[in-house]
């Protein structure tokens, strides 16, 4: 497995764990997670930030371990296939992010407010990033003819 594919897998797993906790909590809270943004409810943003930092730290540590094991391959610059796969991942994720931002910025304000909009925006960001890394994994697994 290519070093960059391993990193994409690690990132996907870390994202599922970290944001699974956050959005799981949002769903479990029900109406409490959809109300107005108040000082008392800002802990949700702190939770999101803490999980993001924890996820990034886990990815950094795992990447370091993988790079020490991979040796030269980890130090090698991305070749043309790595770059093509990364470009496709970004292109696919762009459409997800664009759709998410249209929903959050144009559609949702007519029928929702407060935390529902905030969480929808966070979900769009997380989903776009997830799709980017998933597209990278698929690019390495299934092949790339671009």
């Amino acid at each position: 497995m290519a070093f960059r594919e391993k990193i994409a897998w690690v990132t996907l797993i870390a994202m599922v764990l970290a944001y699974g906790v956050y959005f799981g909590a949002v769903v479990a809270l029900g109406e409490n997670a959809r109300g107005p943004v108040t000082a008392d409810s800002l802990w949700m943003l702190w939770l999101f930030a803490a999980l993001t930092i924890a996820q990034l730290a886990a990815i950094a540590i795992t990447s370091l371990i993988l790079s020490l094991r991979s040796g030269r391959e980890a130090r090698a610059r991305a070749d043309e296939r790595d770059q093509a796969i990364a470009r496709r991942g970004a292109a696919v994720a762009y459409h997800v992010l664009l759709t998410g931002m249209i929903v959050v910025g144009v559609v949702l304000p007519f029928e929702a407010s407060g935390w529902r909009i905030v969480n929808a925006a966070l979900f769009a960001l997380v989903l776009a990033e997830f799709v980017r890394h998933a597209a990278v994994v698929i690019g390495y697994r299934r092949g790339w003819h671009g």
Binding site: E73, D79, R81, D82, G143, H145, G146
Partner: protein, 84 residues
Amino acid sequence: MAEAALRNQIRTLRFLAGEMTQAELGERIGVTRQTVAAIEAGKYSPSLEAAFRIARVFGKPLEEVFQWDDSADPAAPPREPRQP
């Protein structure tokens, strides 16, 4: 996934070049071993520059290393009959 229309003889040419490894070939053309493996397996179509570099490593013209398979290309135009 559509079948690749680009075929190649890299595996055979590596064997004939003293069983050159994928890593050695990758190092000489500036790509990773995994990318050479993907090219060989038809999972990745290399850039024109990489294709020429591969051909130069083996000292062969490009069309001896890579071939276009019309039967696997649904967009291929009908072939013109060859002039005598």
